[in-house]
Point group: C2
Chain length 149, copies 2
């Protein structure tokens, strides 16, 4: 486990375009979604950009889980048919919602800079899930494991 | 939520090569790993194929979590830059370990049939995580949501 990410780990997170986030409800039932993100160590930001138009955000399972249990795990990885090249980064942290203010504006700016798709979507008012990363773990096939995944 | 998967959903699961599985420990701390799988409705099988050589499987976080809390969530999705084509399948179920017997042999056979990589790896004796799927949920961008992810 590594709480000070190396430049390579930071680059890996910056360059990837999608992550998967696990949350759990108060009964220990896990939930899982894919998401786009902006990264600014030690924070990760994701916009509640789609369903939020159709469903009150409080009804989203991920939001309900975060409100009752802010612990999250985030996986950033690629699948490749060459299994000798498999690698992933696992982040652990705490999630919270931010809906306005300087940090919210900054998160939206980062998201629009990374994803051209957001530029047309009018996400300026979308709430943002902010993850404060508490640990970074990495795994590579054929490397000596430092953690027991 | 759909407990009887459509042929399209079954095909989506069969055709994909990787999933991500979330588990949670007894403190509600989520854990997350990528995995390869064989699917035979309503079961999903994954081999404990790599770390199991280096680390006793009981020390793997996923195994510890499953032993104390068998609830899992599994996400099967692709990331595409064309966000109008995004889709995913979310499975919920219960996990258990199987290490021998007819079902274990069958799971290993399915895994070798799907992944040529396994044919050289000598996985016949590897324990298998068996997921009994209790619900299938699907999401597509631009489709009316049936669930609140």
């Amino acid at each position: 486990m590594n709480n000070a990410p190396s430049p390579e780990v930071k680059q890996f997170i910056h360059e990837h375009r999608v992550g998967r986030m696990a949350t759990a409800d108060t009964n220990g039932r896990p939930h899982l979604i894919p998401f786009c993100y902006a990264y600014c160590d030690p924070f990760l930001y994701m916009a509640l950009d789609r369903k939020s138009k159709q469903v009150p955000i409080q009804r989203l399972q991920r939001v309900q889980n975060i409100m009752s249990n802010p612990k999250v795990a985030i996986l950033i990885d690629d699948y490749l048919e060459d299994w000798t090249r498999l690698a992933f980064v696992l982040l652990r942290g705490q999630a919270e919602l931010i809906s306005e203010g300087t940090e919210h504006e900054y998160a939206i700016t980062l998201l629009k800079r990374k994803y051209h798709q957001y530029k047309k979507m009018g996400i300026d008012q979308c709430p943002v899930i902010k993850i404060t990363i508490s640990s970074y773990s990495t795994w590579k096939e054929n490397a000596t494991p430092d953690l027991n995944f």
